[in-house]
């Protein structure tokens, strides 16, 4: 059986144009799904409401879907210590770590022997390891048939499947995505290149599955297969179908982070892909974070998102302030999520600016306010009225503005706390909306 896997891998690597042979590994003997279970409580018009349970080896943790992971760099939520992080309530049970930020520490982690959770002083969380950092872009053109590259503080690190899996063994995540050629998000990628990416990614997956089985440290952790295919429907479908045949615990939909692809096309492709995937396995959409897109792709059948958007907003000195109250229902009005104090005759805090995907103040989205703006200099209101985060309970916009213009480190801390709280609040509202058939209300609120 092992022969058939490696023979297959060589085959696909040497012949980039051949059509992929369906994998024939019996699922029962090579199960890399861990014990993870997705219990769907409701599926309505594409949206899936549910609970992901038994993630990892020993865990009693569960993750509600639709939901997002807790974004980290080097296993730390940017700017935050454990004390500041835990002023936030209802944090996601799953923390995302990236191979990108950990690869340069491989030797240290191998010597440490107890995995990243313990290395980083984390206790009560599960780890999902992805290849790239969703909040950073990296140069293209460094993928080969056998390798992908990540960028650490010391430059490029090339990963073969063997090195990739050795890293996973050192990190010991509860879930991880298989190695993937995800470079086809760029505009004008040729059909041939897209095809090759699908081939390579499947071949990497098979190798990962094989090595996973042999790796003691990864016992109990689960592999997510990566679906590629660029903007070509047939390739997307092929990638989805082939990946679904493998014994994976879930799916990562890659290559949709580009703004060069029309949102309508993305929605169509994602809907088509999720239709090919088994209902009982979770789907994570990589690199997408804007609230409007999140709603659109939840409707297209996506369960999980990476939580990097609040970080990007923080880095440009902005605060999330979009309204996500979907319930005019008096019964739940008392517990409704915060609203922005906007309508008291003062100029609106939300600016509509052009967005082109970069991480700078000029590129802020319409979901945020730019606290550097001089209008906040003497604004003694919290960032968002009614928000219960540490920042909003203790500080005013004028103070955040001051911290930003004086380049003080506390600005990042306080904005990260608020933005994370606001984003998690949005996901909570999203689940409530799906549960109560109010997604339409939420959508119009968020899109207004």
């Amino acid at each position: 059986m092992c022969d058939s896997i490696s023979g297959f891998a060589v085959n696909s690597a040497t012949c980039s144009t051949c059509v992929h042979v369906p994998c024939t590994i019996p699922l029962t003997t090579l199960d890399c799904t861990g014990a993870m279970k997705l219990e769907l409580s409701k599926v309505v018009r594409g949206c899936r409401l549910g609970l992901l349970t038994s993630i990892g080896q020993t865990s009693q943790h569960s993750l509600e879907v639709p939901g997002c992971l807790l974004y980290t760099r080097c296993a730390t939520v940017p700017h935050l210590t454990q004390d500041t992080l835990h002023t936030l309530h209802n944090l996601p049970a799953v923390t995302q770590v990236t191979l990108e930020s950990l690869a340069e520490h491989q030797e240290i982690l191998e010597e440490f022997k107890h995995g990243v959770r313990k290395f980083a002083g984390l206790h009560d969380t599960l780890l999902f390891c992805t290849l790239h950092d969703p909040a950073t872009t990296h140069p293209a053109g460094h993928v080969t048939n056998k390798t992908v590259s990540v960028w650490g503080s010391g430059g490029r690190i090339e990963l073969s499947v063997a090195k990739f899996m050795a890293m996973q063994a050192a990190i010991r995540p509860d879930c991880y995505e298989s190695m993937a050629d995800g470079e086809t998000w760029q505009a004008n990628t040729s059909r041939k290149r897209v095809r090759k990416a699908v081939e390579r990614t499947l071949s990497h997956l098979d190798e990962c599955l094989e090595l996973h089985h042999k790796t003691q440290e990864l016992k109990g952790s689960a592999i997510f297969g990566v679906v590629e295919g660029g903007d070509i429907l047939e390739e997307r479908l092929r990638s989805a179908r082939e990946t679904a045949k493998r014994p994976v615990a879930g799916f990562v939909l890659d290559g949709f982070q580009s703004t060069s692809m029309e949102q309508e096309l993305r929605e169509q492709l994602i809907t088509a892909v999720t239709a090919e995937l088994p209902q009982e396995k979770p789907r994570l959409l990589r690199g997408v974070g804007h609230p409007d897109e999140v709603i659109a792709y939840v409707e297209a059948g996506v369960d999980l998102f990476e939580g990097f958007f609040p970080f990007q907003v923080t880095e440009r000195g902005c605060a999330l302030c979009f309204d996500y109250t979907a319930t005019p229902d008096p019964e739940t009005a008392g517990t409704s999520p915060p609203t922005v104090l906007e309508s008291n005759g003062v100029e609106p805090a939300v600016e509509v600016l052009k967005e082109n995907g970069e991480d700078s103040p000029e590129n802020m989205s319409r979901f945020e306010m730019n606290l550097r703006d001089t209008r906040y200099r003497d604004d003694f209101r919290p960032l968002v009225d009614g928000c219960s985060c540490y920042c909003c309970k203790n500080h005013k916009r004028a103070y955040i503005h001051h911290l930003l213009v004086t380049n003080e480190l506390l600005a990042g801390v306080l904005l990260m706390l608020h933005n994370t709280a606001h984003y998690l609040g949005f996901f909570h509202a999203l689940r409530e909306a799906v549960a109560n058939d109010r997604l339409k209300d939420l959508k119009s609120k968020v899109l207004q």
Binding site: R73, C74, T76, V77, P78, H79, L80, T81, Q82, D83, T84, T87, S101, E104, H105, E107, I108, E111, F112, F119, A120, G121, G152, S153, R377, D378, F380, Y390, N394, H395, K396, A398, Y399, H401, H402, L403, V405, T406, E408, L409, L410, G412, V413, L414
Partner: protein
């Protein structure tokens, strides 16, 4: 002796009622001497201020722009910090006194519920701003933000500090570098006395805000004494020893400190400005100082330098990459409870939180050191504390700095 109560009130040590002496009912400040070292000039006091009591000797971390670097007010409270600093020059420039007044003072602006001390702004002007000029009227300088010429008078300095609403304000003094000699030193000293009077009359909130005098006189003992004579005639709630820790020889430094404490009234707090290295703190407590501030522990943290009882660790150095123990295994700060040197080393390559971790540790180190110093004074074993502190800081036959040996010997503490 029992541990001192946090609040002011009748002293628990009835045998020493003479030490129970509030400075003056007119000031929003009370100093209760809890214990004095029978050997040296060290003392343990409770300093009661408008925003709560402070146990001295105390180290006051510096939050220049209304923030303690990446540390939240809550984290600082959890380290049991009772008083910290804000810088009048920086805050006066940005966001400006009017805005801070609107925010209910610096306490309200930064949401810090405990005590604040603000400097006069003069030192920053002379040290940070080129082309500043001192006249009898005040300090003239060019704003680095808009290029405008600004004159900071003693009245304006106190005015800004009144807007900031600090619990302790510092007089504007005429600062000269401690390495300057000649008539300029005397001129600055005399002017500082005159400016003290102007500051006292300018204080709009004498019942809420304490104004401290700053002893000047450079490294000249005669001038220092003259300054002490003049300033102690004024009714101020506390004194600072200024014009030191500016690059002078340590031999000169400690002599000026001990001369000052010899002439300062026993019942008023003594604040040694700009001192924060562990050895300096311990020695200057022995010389009779109560309060200290320094940017060093928080600044050095951001470069990856963690303070420990045997010196410091440069966490970014390669030797810590695989060192899986905490910065200081005996430290009980949140950083050491959770993180290893190896993790902090790795995190420094990715995120600012690495700096926050070390800032927390370093502030905790300073505050813990001062608490240990205080406990030893209260328990009447300060000289032994100093000896073991120095042994740990200079292990394996490493020679003690001669100035520290001499300074301690001058107050009858012999190192072994």
């Amino acid at each position: 002796m029992a541990a001192p109560a946090a609040e002011s009130g009748p002293c628990e040590c009835k045998s020493d009622m003479a030490s129970v002496k509030a400075v003056s009912s007119a000031f929003p400040l009370a100093l209760r001497i809890v214990a004095e070292c029978p050997v040296s000039k060290a003392r343990a006091c409770v300093l009661t201020l408008p925003h709560g009591s402070v146990n001295t000797p105390v180290f006051m971390p510096v939050g220049t722009q209304g923030t303690m670097k990446g540390i939240t007010a809550e984290q600082l409270e959890q380290l049991d910090c009772r008083i910290c600093l804000g810088n009048t020059y920086h805050l006066g420039m940005r966001p400006g006194p009017e805005l801070i007044e609107k925010a209910n003072g610096l306490h309200g602006f930064m949401n810090w519920k405990r005590n604040l001390l603000t400097d006069s702004g003069g030192f920053q002007m002379v040290s940070l701003v080129e082309l500043s000029e001192v006249t009898e009227e005040g300090v003239l300088f060019r704003s680095p933000y808009d290029g405008k010429e600004i004159l900071l008078t003693p009245e304006q300095s106190v005015g800004i500090q009144n807007s900031l609403g600090s619990d302790i304000m510092m007089q504007l003094d005429d600062v000269v570098s401690s390495t300057v000699t000649g008539p300029r030193v005397e001129e600055a000293m005399r002017r500082s006395v005159r400016w003290l009077d102007r500051c006292i009359s300018a204080n709009k909130n004498p019942h809420r805000q304490n104004l401290f005098a700053i002893i000047q006189g450079g490294l000249n003992a005669e001038l220092r004494r003259a300054c002490l004579d003049e300033m102690t005639k004024r009714d101020v709630p506390g004194f600072a020893i200024g014009g030191l820790s500016g690059g002078e020889e340590k031999d000169d430094f400690w002599k000026m400190v001990t001369l000052s404490t010899d002439h300062l009234p026993r019942e008023k707090p003594r604040y040694l400005m700009g001192v924060g290295y562990a050895v300096d703190l311990v020695v200057c407590v022995a010389l009779g100082c109560d309060m200290f501030d320094c940017v060093f522990p928080t600044r050095t943290a951001r470069f990856g330098s963690a303070l420990v009882p045997w010196g410091s660790l440069q966490i970014k150095q390669k030797q810590y990459a695989k060192d899986f123990q905490p910065i200081d295994p005996e430290c009980e700060c949140p950083t050491c409870e959770r993180h290893s040197r190896a993790y902090l080393h790795a995190l420094f390559k990715s995120d600012t939180a690495a700096m926050h971790h070390i800032t927390i540790h370093n502030i905790s180190y300073q505050l813990t050191l001062m608490r240990s110093v205080r406990r030893s004074i209260v328990e009447q074993r300060f000289p032994e504390f100093v000896r073991s502190f120095m042994r740990r800081m200079f292990p394996c036959g490493e020679p003690y700095p001669s100035w520290a040996v001499e300074a301690l010997a001058s107050v009858d503490i012999a190192l072994d």
